[in-house]
Symmetry: C2
Subunit: 137 residues, 2 copies
């Protein structure tokens, strides 16, 4: 993304930032040890912040949400490159390669594009304004 690691970090570690590219109305505590609360369409995803180091990494563990997500880890590693910052993303620890994993994989890529668009052009597409990938998504 054509922005600083500090700006990327801010978008990943503030409820306002997260609300601009991932899920609107995100609440909770974004500091290490806190729990970020996402409530898309009445669903509940609680992500515990297990690591948060400016310019380096943000890592969450899912402690509340759909059974397939529980215990999985979401990680954003930041790598500054000139006037860009690469974001190396993983969502790891799925017990089984279920259909929902394939769904989430595509959705994560679209949310990363939303993060990029938010940071570069102030045009995020957080849920419920996100790109839909199938009817009912």
């Amino acid at each position: 993304m054509r922005t600083s690691a500090a700006k990327v970090y801010e978008a990943l570690t503030t409820t306002d930032g997260l609300s601009r590219w991932w899920v609107t109305g995100t609440t909770g505590e974004t500091r290490e040890g806190g729990v970020v609360k996402l409530r898309p369409d009445g669903d509940a995803y609680d992500m515990k912040v297990v690591a948060s180091r400016p310019g380096d990494v943000v890592e969450w563990e899912c402690v509340g949400g759909p059974p397939e997500w529980l215990g999985t880890h979401v990680t954003f590693r930041l790598k500054p490159k000139g006037d860009e910052t690469y974001v190396l993303f993983t969502h790891a620890g799925w017990r089984e390669p279920v259909e929902f994993m394939h769904h989430c994989s595509t959705k994560w890529a679209l949310f990363l594009m939303s993060l990029k668009s938010w940071l570069e052009r102030a045009e995020g597409r957080p849920h419920p304004y996100d790109v839909k990938i199938h009817p009912g998504d």
Copy 2:
């Protein structure tokens, strides 16, 4: 995708189909045992068709291309659901979780959206008309 498994299969197993959502000007042999040849911007990706069963699965092995891709497998599993077809995609067998893998992961999601858009609205975004994710992409 809101189309039949037969239409998805056609888009994955004809050079014209592949040219409409993945890489323009794709050539080669798309039958099982054949090698599909993709030439984006002078790069060369050769994908051997190791499985191809209508309405079920298409699987390729990379037999020519960047070292990180050699020996990896790309699989599309088709699952009809009412008037839709789910496409369960994997690109597996990477030896290391390199930066290029993160790049490809996001790009694959965008190409799957291109496949969907091509099948549903005749609006694919194959290379070189694909969504770019960073300068120089």
